[in-house]
């Protein structure tokens, strides 16, 4: 396999000097340090806490699934799980609505404008989410500028301590995850297809909906899935901008473990979060693959 891949990449290297099995083994073992590190300090603790959900119990044990029975029979937990899922879906939808026009203009702009639009995505992306959440507290707080402007317009609304503030902060943090794959997908679309549609009598709007939009679908799906999955695990933004009465799954896991040290229950909640994350990721990548196959036909 390696030989085939290399041969395609360039002219064949001298025999016996680079491609013997021993060389390939030499490359192979370079991965061991990273795998050992991740195995010991990342995967082992996670597998351990997931298995604790089947062996550690708070109170009298009835069956090995007690922690999961507790999770799904406690209405507050189920409410938080559903809220986490629909809030994440909403964040993905909002990111798509503002990310699509942004990625579209990015894909057709050139020179300095493109550099500016790219910088506006990349520079905030690297600034710590904690710092950004702090800034949103200052901007959205009760006596802050945004609330003052809204009051002047006659709108009475609180933006902090509820899901509105959380949405503003989470869309901001997730924005690059939406725009970058969308930008990649939109850049690949041959815009002459739109002209072809127009020359066949389509209005610009119908050319967009019937030609451009379907071709952009793989990028739309990829961005939406990334944002959805990333949102499921958010801790900082809901903890700082939201309210304990509208908590999400990650902050709930933290209170269940850091204060109560209930590892079994914490492990069960972690398992639920992990399975939800991987489930959305799996469904999303299947849908993206189907859309890709359809658009390449």
């Amino acid at each position: 396999m390696v030989t085939v891949a290399r041969a395609k990449a360039g002219p064949a290297p001298p025999k016996g000097q680079g491609l013997s099995d021993s060389t390939s083994l030499g490359w192979k073992i370079l991965i061991i340090p990273a795998l050992v590190w991740l195995g010991v300090f990342f995967l082992y603790p996670i597998i351990r806490i997931l298995s604790l959900s089947f062996t550690e119990f708070s109170g009298d044990q009835v069956s090995g699934l007690d922690n999961y029975i507790w999770f799904f029979t406690t209405p507050a937990n189920v409410v938080v799980l559903w809220r986490t899922i629909w809030v994440s879906a909403l964040i993905a939808l909002l990111s798509l609505i503002i990310g699509y026009p942004y990625a579209y203009l990015l894909s057709i702009s050139t020179g300095r404008r493109r550099l500016l639009l790219i910088s506006a995505v990349v520079i905030p992306l690297t600034i710590s989410p904690l710092v950004r959440s702090y800034a949103w507290i200052g901007i959205l707080r009760d006596n802050g500028p945004v609330v003052a402007i809204l009051q002047w317009l006659g709108i009475e609304v609180e933006l902090l301590g509820n899901l509105l503030g959380v949405a503003v902060g989470m869309v901001h943090i997730n924005f690059p995850l939406m725009v970058l794959p969308l930008f990649a997908a939109l850049s690949r679309i041959d815009r002459r297809l739109l002209d072809a549609g127009a020359s066949l009598g389509a209005t610009p709007l119908s050319a967009f909906w019937r030609v451009y939009a379907p071709l952009s679908l793989p990028g739309v799906l990829a961005g939406t899935v990334l944002v959805f999955v990333n949102s499921l695990g958010f801790y900082l933004t809901p903890a700082l901008l939201g309210s304990p009465r509208q908590t999400l799954l990650s902050p709930l896991i933290v209170t269940q473990t850091q204060l109560v040290l209930a590892w079994g229950r914490g492990g069960a909640m972690a398992t639920v979060l992990l399975i939800t994350t991987l489930g959305v990721l799996l469904l999303g990548s299947l849908a993206t693959r189907r859309a890709l196959m359809r658009s390449s036909q």
């Binding site: 396999m1 390696v2 891949a5 290297p13 001298p14 000097q17 680079g18 390939s24 083994l25 030499g26 490359w27 192979k28 370079l30 991965i31 340090p33 990273a34 795998l35 590190w37 991740l38 300090f41 990342f42 082992y44 603790p45 996670i46 351990r48 806490i49 026009p101 942004y102 579209y104 639009l117 506006a120 990349v122 520079i123 905030p124 690297t126 600034i127 989410p129 904690l130 710092v131 702090y134 800034a135 949103w136 200052g138 901007i139 707080r141 901001h172 610009p204 999955v229 499921l232 695990g233 801790y235 900082l236 990650s250 896991i253 933290v254 473990t257 850091q258 590892w263 972690a270 990721l281």
Partner: protein, 264 residues
């Protein structure tokens, strides 16, 4: 799209771009506040918060600790990640590569809260919660993928036959990698090192669990300023982080742009 439609699109996108920069711009005036009341446009301005940030031991200790841990994590992640990227790019078939990628990238996909409670529970047993070692173990794990991704990308951009050319001229394989491959993937390693450092330097959730009262990093100190003691110094810390990050990103961007131009 019609001409007028295009113009409205530009208006909307300009507003979005301003919104993207808004938090960064808001923090700078917030940090000049001379009162203890939070405000995005303080009337009474001074550099008092910066004096506190660089003067009070609890803040300076947190700041130096974050830089120290970040530096150690960067070195570890760059070494482990670069070796792993070389192995993935050169040693494995395409089918194996997908599996290895999934393993290496697991820290990006798995929600950090899960890693946090998992490490906390294990490190309590190992009795290392509150030590800098605990943070280094956990931070390096989440930093490794951020080195592997850019290094793999730059490895994809170079021709492996260059190494064979060096070897056919008599260089050993190790020296071919050292003298030919490494210089070529240096831009990828630089980006990876920066991202790895920021992963550690900005990390909050793992650190909230793994630090003790005497081993707080800067983000943990800032978090407790927001949640517990409402210490306004957090504004100066936030502004310093924004300036530091922006200068680093812009200089990496500029150097890559000029490298790309120089190559033509």
């Amino acid at each position: 799209m019609t001409h007028g439609g295009r113009r409205w699109l530009w208006v909307a996108v300009t507003i979005i771009a301003l919104w993207l920069f808004l938090p960064a711009f808001a923090v700078l005036p917030m940090s000049l506040n001379n009162t203890n009341r939070m405000s995005v446009w303080p009337e009474d301005r001074s550099l008092r918060l910066y004096d506190q940030l660089f003067g009070e031991p609890q803040w300076t200790a947190a700041l130096t600790r974050s830089f120290r841990i970040g530096a150690i994590v960067t070195v570890l992640a760059v070494v482990l990640g670069t070796l792993a990227a070389l192995a993935i790019a050169r040693g494995y078939s395409r089918a194996r590569r997908a599996g290895l990628n999934a393993l290496i990238l697991a820290p990006v996909i798995i929600p950090v809260v899960i890693a946090a409670i998992a490490s906390y529970s294990l490190y309590l047993e190992w009795n290392i919660v509150g030590s800098e070692r605990a943070l280094i173990f956990a931070h390096t794990s989440i930093a490794i993928p951020f080195v592997v991704i850019p290094v793999l990308a730059s490895l994809r951009g170079i021709n492996p036959t260059l190494e064979f050319a060096a070897q056919s001229l008599g260089a050993s394989r190790a020296s071919a990698v050292w003298h030919v491959t490494l210089p070529l993937i240096r831009p990828g390693i630089a980006v990876g090192a920066f991202l790895a450092f920021m992963q550690s330097f900005d990390e909050v959730v793992l650190s909230l669990f793994l630090t003790g009262p005497l081993s707080r990093t800067l983000p943990v100190r800032m978090y407790s300023a927001l949640i517990d003691d409402l210490d306004p110094t957090v504004a100066a810390a936030a502004a310093v982080i924004i300036l530091f990050t922006t200068v680093a990103v812009v200089s990496i961007g500029v150097s890559r742009l000029s490298e790309a131009r120089g190559a033509h």
